[in-house]
């Protein structure tokens, strides 16, 4: 992913307190928040090589969110595949993540009792 939040070299060691951190700007991984604030605070614009537009920031946030979801899905599937012993179990486990309505749970219990 292209770095749209590039900090000017002279400000890499500068400290701006936000998002509960006071790390130097060169070490921050939440510069999208600073860029967002820079939209209305001119004092924060000086830190960026080029201040990204709100559209660029939103695109970045959306891409980050999708990447996080993709990672979570891959992790979950890997875990399930590793634990699976029966064919089709992966599907069953995925379904189990969705809370079952009470009526369905009752039906399942009764059905099991009959068996």
């Amino acid at each position: 992913m292209e770095n749209i939040f590039e900090i000017k070299p002279e400000f890499k060691t500068a400290v701006v307190g936000f998002n509960n951190s006071g790390l130097p700007l060169g070490k921050r991984s939440d510069l999208h928040l600073l860029a967002e604030m820079a939209q209305y605070s001119p004092g924060l614009r000086k830190y960026f090589v080029a201040v990204p537009t709100m559209e660029q920031i939103n695109d970045y946030k959306a891409a980050r969110f999708m990447a996080a979801i993709a990672n979570t899905t891959v992790e979950n599937n890997t875990e399930k595949t590793n634990n699976s012993t029966l064919p089709g179990e992966k599907v069953t486990q995925t379904m189990a993540l969705v809370p079952m309505p009470k009526a369905v749970r009752g039906f399942k219990a009764k059905k099991n009792k009959n068996i």
Partner: protein, 191 residues
């Protein structure tokens, strides 16, 4: 149709202990706070151009006696003019040279300029009073000065030996909150 703008107030229930946990004093001209709109909390803070912690800027901690600090903002109205009378009281220990030097600097700063404070409350919320620069622009003067401080030895063994610092200042509104996190304040801490 209403001629005024009002809102309700219904914060989510949470632990809401009273008192102040930590306090810092700063030169209002040195710190630039970031705010989305005029009624939003401050979300970030940085040193203004040219100010450095090494050069003497930054947030200076004031270590006060445990649970001996209080901020108040009392509102009054005369005609259509609102006044918020801010006071900050802090009890600090050890009546002696170091305290005298601190008090002298505070009194000179009060006669020549003003002081800003960041106050972390025991409920976790952080408020700011006396700030001067917001979004790289100077806001209307929010002058907080030391006024009414008492420094002394006490009489009995269990009397207070130290100073009861008193800071006062009137403004057009109550204190704004800073939501950028206390770690950010500590990172900009000077001595």
């Amino acid at each position: 149709m209403l001629s005024v703008s009002i809102t309700g107030y219904a914060p989510p229930c949470s632990n809401n202990s009273g008192g102040i946990s930590r306090a810092w004093v700063f030169d209002p001209a040195d710190m630039d706070f970031t705010q989305a709109t005029e009624t939003d909390p401050y979300t970030a803070v940085a040193l203004v151009a040219g100010a450095t912690v090494v050069g003497g800027s930054g947030f200076k901690p004031i270590k006060f006696d445990y649970l001996e600090a209080e901020h108040k903002a009392v509102q009054s109205l005369k005609g259509s003019s609102n006044k918020w009378a801010h006071t900050l009281a802090l009890q600090v220990p050890q009546h002696g040279q170091k305290l005298s030097e601190f008090l002298l600097k505070q009194s000179i700063a009060s006669s020549c300029g003003s002081l800003g404070f960041v106050i972390e409350q025991n409920n976790g919320k952080v408020i700011v009073i006396g700030e001067s620069v917001v979004n790289a622009s100077t806001i209307p003067v929010f002058r907080i000065v030391m006024d009414g401080t008492e420094d002394g030895s006490g009489k009995a063994f269990d009397d207070v030996n130290g100073a009861k610092l008193m800071y006062k200042g009137d403004y057009s509104r109550p204190a704004w909150e800073y939501t950028g996190g206390i770690d950010a304040i500590i990172a900009l801490q000077g001595v």
